[in-house]
């Protein structure tokens, strides 16, 4: 048993250690450059320093979230498998570690500098709503994922209450549907919370930092909802013994259809404040 515990700890610690590596200056620079290069924004030194501090905080919180998510995922999947669940839940720790990372990274952006009430404050007069930071398509996808999760959980309950042995492949529908629903609701609530956070800025640097971290956190949360849904759908397809072509087709459709709106790189329209305040290196 001790080797199993050691293996589990190793499995949990490895991605956490990998996430902690994101804290090194070169990794932080690479992360920010990669996230911002499509926007072509010309970031000054002060703003870059603010963003760099955010990247360090984000890596730390993301690593913690990933470790916690992975640990919870492994514990839940082992507990369910010991009670006869199929191996369709084997991918659960992958999903929970990514959910943990996205939530941890999003929570890191809640940190804000404390300003005294006597200090001058600035605002870019930018409304902070879902529509200003997330495309309609992304929002619709998020809501759609939640509805799919609810439907899957509903069908799962029906299967369990009727004759579970008649449809053994559909047993994971309830836990996976609940997971998708839970992740969607958590992501939407956290997105709403982030959008309600006040900016508290004394200069342009803080306004741009707030804008970029908001855009990154909202994007991560939207992405993790979609990823969890696709992973769950893949697990269910595998569980019911669907042809591999369908499972691969699902992955291919996910990669092609949602690649652009859920791109890891930010686009100019996703950073409305920065795009108004900061110059661009060249015209798009």
């Amino acid at each position: 048993m001790s080797w199993l515990v050691f293996a589990l700890v190793f499995v949990v610690v490895l991605p956490v250690a990998e996430s902690f590596r994101e804290r090194t200056p070169s990794r932080r620079r690479r992360f920010l450059t990669s996230a911002l290069d499509q926007t072509q924004l010309v970031i000054d030194t002060e703003t870059w320093a603010s963003l760099d501090r955010y990247a360090a905080r984000r890596a730390q919180w993301g690593a913690g979230g990933r470790g916690l998510g992975m640990a919870i995922g492994i514990a839940v999947s082992l507990w369910l498998m010991m009670r006869g669940a199929t191996d369709a839940l084997a991918l659960l720790p992958v999903a929970t570690s990514l959910v943990g990372y996205a939530i941890g990274a999003a929570l890191s952006s809640q940190h804000r500098s404390t300003l005294s009430s006597a200090e001058e404050r600035v605002s870019a007069l930018q409304p902070q709503g879902f529509r200003e930071y997330l495309r309609r398509r992304v929002l619709a996808t998020e809501v759609g994922c939640g509805i799919l999760g609810l439907l899957a959980a509903g069908v799962g309950v029906l299967v369990l209450t009727s004759d579970p042995l008649k449809f053994p492949g559909l047993a994971p529908l309830l836990p996976l549907g609940l997971m998708v629903l839970g992740v969607t609701v958590a992501a939407l609530l956290l997105q709403r919370r982030l959008l309600q956070l006040p900016t508290h800025a004394v200069g342009q640097a803080q306004l741009v930092e707030h804008d970029v971290k908001l855009a990154l956190s909202l994007r991560d949360l939207a992405w993790v909802v979609t990823f969890t849904t696709v992973l769950s759908a893949y697990s269910i397809l595998t569980s019911i013994g669907a042809p591999i072509v369908i499972s691969l087709g699902l992955i291919a459709a996910f990669s092609l259809l949602v690649r652009r709106p859920f791109d890891r790189k930010l686009r100019l329209e996703q950073t409305p404040v920065a795009s108004r305040l900061v110059g661009r290196s060249r015209q798009a």
């Binding site: 001058e120 007069l125 006040p198 900016t199």
Partner: protein, 131 residues
């Protein structure tokens, strides 16, 4: 782009600082017509002000015709041309007159520079006759 700055220790009260700066930004074109403004609650939280302070500034700006509140849709910088669709305003008349002038000038084969010179001449003539 200009930033809205609120100095809590300034001579003017915060609502007045807010009102004058938003009005100036709208007049200078920093805020474009139809642009959505943040909610009272958001702006108050961002600037560390009481919601009533921002609400008062918005009310006065609305009374001055700088912004308009459209229920749950939010608060927008007022557009004279868009507003004119519902109720004709002097600015809409000017827009129509400019369109007529442009069409007439094109019909006569005048260039934009020639038309602009004509407008400048008429503008200075009107100014002299008013004074």
């Amino acid at each position: 782009m200009k930033l809205l700055r609120i100095d809590p220790g300034g001579e003017a009260p915060p609502y007045e600082q807010l009102r004058t700066q938003i009005a100036a930004m709208a007049a200078e074109g920093e805020l474009t017509a139809g642009q959505k403004l943040p909610t009272v609650r958001q702006l108050a939280a961002d600037l560390g002000l009481a919601a009533n302070t921002v609400a008062r500034a918005y009310r006065e700006l609305e009374a001055d015709g700088v912004i308009s509140t459209q229920g749950r849709r939010g608060t927008f910088v007022r557009s004279a041309l868009l507003d004119g669709a519902a109720s004709p305003s002097p600015r809409t008349d000017a827009h129509k007159a400019a369109a007529t002038l442009a069409a007439t000038a094109r019909g006569l084969g005048l260039s934009l520079a020639e038309t602009t010179r004509l407008v400048e001449g008429a503008w200075s003539h009107t100014g002299r006759s008013r004074s």
